[in-house]
């Protein structure tokens, strides 16, 4: 029988998995140049049908369409199909106006019975496009995104390699004026896109074509059945997996930049991430035959599984870590101290490497989000990290035994308990006046714990079999003019 302390120690070690995989991801991202040199690119301008699902998007759609009309791309090889999902605002009028302004470029497709969700709306557009048969590639974008002028041609150039079936852009947070949450999301996207997707390029397996801008060849669209999966809340990830399982490669182009407006409050972010988190749980189950099976190519590799599960199982690792430390404290206090120092030691090295690497990988974003980068794990976790990095920093404090015990227990419980505190911030945001304290509290608790708490909430929703509802993220159209 395995001794209890060994099991508890293993729980603590589990807490080191996500940061270690984080370092692995950034190390892979750093050798992206090797992959880039192997990649064949050439100017290629296939006929691209752009599908824009839209439900009550009058506030954002005009600018999105104007940007599409300004793309560096041959006009005769471009068509934009806006699928109006029974909008009740002025979207239909706006679309009629834009279609008249750009004849032969913008087409208005109206669904009279709407409300089934984004995937159904996209499929309505795909049905029309497939029936017309004009397209050679299809670009699916969100109604609020701003494509930089060269983004599309930078994506299509990869199709010169016949095995490339889809290309995804680099989605960057573009809200202006931005608030604290936008800056956290902006930095998160540096790690989750600029770094993670570069790493996945190196591995040869992509986890997700960004829903905001994904380009598929006609052959890829046909290979996935000519439609987007409607059985999951992560339809873009399902498409990504299916394209790769059909033997095609999915490529991330970090130079194809697309700006998007992200939620400005925790309530909006929670809704969005709950949808993503539930979608990821559904994908993990639906593609259970893929994981760690080499016959599925790079998608079945250990590296890809490590990256996927370190994110999706993060709340479990964090909780195990707390249970392990508290359990060890009960059975062997000295061993718990050693285990905690091990955990902190790993955290110091990985935190410094990941944070500084992320700042270096996208210095433009880092310039405006360095505070959020530093405080990503939260001030509380950062104090532990500082202590581990250089204990004398606290000076000659001589706390009583009771204080030491209290601080130790707090530190142990915080490894997983920070998720509960982060989740509570969402509730605080709805309380008048108290809500003013939420931004500073998030810096103290940490954006990382908030992400983990949203993932945990997604598990709970899935386990309860909650209804699958597409809850739209509200957009105001506040994307900075300077970004265009």
């Amino acid at each position: 029988m395995i001794a209890l302390d060994v099991v508890l120690l293993a729980f603590v070690v589990a807490g080191t998995i996500p940061p270690v995989v984080g370092v692995y991801t950034f190390a892979l991202a750093s050798i992206h140049v090797v992959t880039l040199r192997r990649e064949t690119v050439a100017p290629l301008f296939p006929r691209v049908a752009i599908v824009v699902p839209a439900w009550n998007e009058a506030a954002v759609l005009a600018r999105t369409l104007d940007r599409l009309a300004a793309l560096e791309y041959p006009r005769e090889a471009l068509r934009v199909y806006v699928v109006d999902d029974a909008s009740t605002d002025s979207t239909p009028e706006l679309l009629r106006e834009k279609a008249a302004e750009h004849p032969g470029l913008i087409f208005h497709l109206r669904r009279e019975q709407g409300g089934q969700g984004k995937a159904h709306t996209i499929n309505h557009g795909l049905n029309v496009i497939i029936a017309e048969g004009w397209y050679e590639a299809v670009l699916i974008i969100d109604a609020d995104v701003i494509l930089t002028v060269e983004s599309l041609r930078r994506m299509t150039r990869h199709f010169v390699s016949e095995d490339v079936g889809a290309v995804t852009a680099y989605i960057k947070e573009g809200s202006r004026p931005e608030n604290y949450l936008n800056r956290f999301v902006a930095f998160e996207y540096v790690t989750a896109q600029a770094a993670a997707r570069r790493a996945q390029n190196v591995l040869g397996a992509q986890a997700c074509l960004a829903g905001g801008a994904q380009l598929l060849t006609r052959a890829s669209l046909e290979a996935v059945g000519g439609r987007i999966d409607t059985s999951t809340l992560a339809e873009d990830t399902a498409t990504t997996f299916k394209v790769q399982l059909s033997g095609r490669r999915v490529v991330f182009d970090p130079t194809a930049v697309v700006w998007a407006e992200e939620p400005r409050d925790l309530g909006g972010l929670w809704k969005q991430r709950l949808r993503w988190g539930r979608g990821n749980v559904q994908i993990t189950r639906a593609f259970s035959h893929v994981w760690l099976r080499r016959r599925n190519g790079r998608l079945g590799g250990i590296g890809f599984a490590a990256i996927w599960f370190s994110t999706t199982v993060m709340p479990v690792f964090m909780t195990l870590s707390s249970i392990g430390l508290l359990g060890l404290f009960a059975v062997d206090r000295s061993l718990s101290g050693h285990a905690f120092r091990l955990l902190l030691g790993v955290n110091v090295v990985t935190y410094l490497f990941i944070t500084l690497s992320a700042i270096s990988i996208d210095r433009m974003t880092a310039g405006r989000t360095w505070r959020e980068a530093v405080l990503f794990p939260g001030l509380v976790a950062l104090l532990f990290i500082i202590y581990a990095a250089y204990p004398p920093v606290w000076g000659d404090l001589r706390p009583t035994a009771a204080v030491v015990t209290a601080v130790t227990l707090f530190a142990y419980a915080w490894q997983g308990g920070c998720m509960l505190v982060a989740a509570a911030l969402k509730r605080l945001e709805t309380v008048p006046v108290v809500r003013l304290a939420v931004p500073p509290l998030l810096y103290i608790v940490g954006y990382g714990p908030l992400l983990a708490s949203m993932t945990a909430a997604a598990y709970v929703k899935e386990l309860r079999g909650a209804e699958m509802r597409w809850e739209k993220t509200e957009k105001s159209g506040k994307i900075g003019e300077a970004l265009q």
Binding site: S30, H32, L36, F45, E72, P74, R153, R154, F353
Partner: protein, 56 residues
Amino acid sequence: MSDLVPHESLPLESPRRTELERREDEREERRRLLRQAALAAVLVFALAARIIFVGG
């Protein structure tokens, strides 16, 4: 092929323009690799110094 030609002046369909853009991307990625390598080296030295002077 000279990198001195500003690629913005070349037509979009020009393979030369795509090649120049690609080289520019490669240069940027190489600079990232060097920064990462330098960062990793500094961290290793810092860690070693921490262990030597403060203890494990």
